[in-house]
Symmetry: C2
Subunit: 305 residues, 2 copies
């Protein structure tokens, strides 16, 4: 039996990963600080521990006895996460978790990295080739964690893969983030002001991100793997498409906001490792994904307007 | 008043750093797991905490109220330190210590890094220029720690310098390490078997290493700084010089042991940052340093033969 312990299982990616892991035959355990929301309760065996507590990892690993670990938990507060000192605490907590997991005989771990580890002066980001030069504490924390975790895994005899997440969107996204805020504004009949949005980014629906993590965990691929679509699109085109899907292009003010200083013109993942080695492809096209996201937000606004 | 908290103050470098810091006007506090040895007791205000305990850093920082931090503590068992999982625990403990230090208003920290962070296919190692590609868990742990610590310091508003230690020798060196083991063998009248020793290395007497760390802490230089002599010497010449200084060249069997696989031909520090920015130069020439080390070991063997 392969028993996976999922961290961050109530989060944006994690909540979608639970079913994806079960579909791949994992016995799914999840650790969370609080009781899971009702809709997630049946998707995993839940163990209530705080991984930031010194004893949290021990408790969760003793309860779940995992052979596999999918570590998605992190400090993720929109805006704040780039620079928060909580990033440092999560490096500590992640290393402790990994030690406890390995010490209890864990065989394979997958952890969430980020495209913010790369040097963003490169437009196409290739694992083990593009230099890593994080410009933020978030990126540096993930990059430093991977450096240590990778060397530790090699010596301790367990497998480690590191999924670098790019730009994502979909159900339960923070309402302040780009795709969600544009959808929310248009569905509420409010103006949506954005920058010119000529930057090219690599977007992937969060359900696909979660499924890719499950596939990566089920594979025997190790090292860094970009978790992304491999397709670049101008942000303004994403915004325009949301306008079409909601029928409210009239509310878009593209170019009303200034561009962010130093925002790089292009950030697109090379996905050969994910596609050819893991053997995974997205289920959602961007068009289908945005449609699904708009539908979800429509339901959400109807539930709590 | 500048109050420095020293970690690893009973260790190889740390025990020599205490007086060097006092000479520079620091009020010296030190944290250690156990009572300090008698000869160090008066060189610092000692606070007994274990930094690997979840509450150890809080206790030490509350007791010392440091404005400055010199973090030298690490797992250092000869041979084992390259690959031990203790390296991972020390990354965690070091980040926690740094958070507690910064949270209590600490202004400037210096931490010990290592030449093992660099890509050893380069012979001359230059901070911020030579690629970092550690081949060991020890090197990866230090390199990852620096990545996180540096970004954290930049955001949290305290200064951080990172002293990369090269090859050192001198009093209290582990008896199993090269210089000490050759001196020990010759002083005991035993054969000293070494490899051909054509590798070029950068050696610095541990008292100079400690003094350089004190100077770095007293300076306002930030970032990575090589702590080394800047001079390369073939290991066989070091061994031969020990033979001359002890008058027992007859006991040397240079070339009796095979070379270590993958041992790089040259590892020498570029010391422009230490010399020109910190303004520090070694006190010991290699010849003086080896002479001093031989004298110390002679006394040591007389005390406990």
């Amino acid at each position: 039996v392969t028993r996976v312990l999922v961290t961050g299982g109530t989060g944006f990616i994690g909540r979608q990963a639970l079913a994806a892991l079960a579909e791949r035959g994992f016995e799914v355990h999840a650790v969370a600080r609080r009781e899971p929301p009702a809709e997630l309760a049946s998707l995993a065996a839940w163990h209530q521990f705080d991984l930031l507590d010194p004893e949290g990892a021990e408790g969760a690993v003793a309860a779940a006895e995992p052979t596999h670990l999918l570590h998605l938990a992190w400090f993720a507060e929109h805006g704040a996460f780039w620079t928060s000192p909580e990033n440092v605490r999560w490096v500590e907590a992640s290393l402790r978790l990994l030690r406890v997991f390995a010490g209890s005989g864990g065989r394979r771990a997958v952890m969430a990295g980020t495209c913010a580890e790369y040097d963003w002066s490169f437009g196409t980001l290739v694992e083990e080739e593009t230099p890593l030069r994080p410009a933020t504490l978030y990126g540096a924390a993930k990059r430093g964690l991977h450096e240590v975790a990778r060397a530790y895994a090699a010596g301790a005899g367990f497998d480690l893969a590191w999924g670098r997440v790019f730009f994502l969107y979909g159900p339960h996204e923070d309402a302040g983030r780009l795709v969600s805020s544009v959808i929310g504004s248009l569905l509420r009949g409010e103006e949506a002001r954005t920058s010119e949005g000529t930057q090219v980014r690599d977007f992937l629906h969060v359900a696909d991100v979660a499924d890719a993590f499950a596939a990566l965990l089920a594979s025997d691929v190790t090292g860094a793997v970009n978790v992304a679509s491999g397709d670049g699109i101008e942000i303004r085109k994403v915004v325009q498409r949301i306008g079409e899907l909601t029928g409210r292009e009239d509310l878009l003010s593209i170019g009303a906001l200034p561009a962010r200083d130093g925002d790089p013109p292009q950030l697109v993942a090379d996905v050969r490792r994910l596609r050819d080695e893991v053997g995974w492809r997205p289920h959602f096209s961007l068009d289908q994904g945005l449609r699904e996201a708009v539908d979800w937000w429509r339901g959400e606004l109807a539930r709590r307007p």
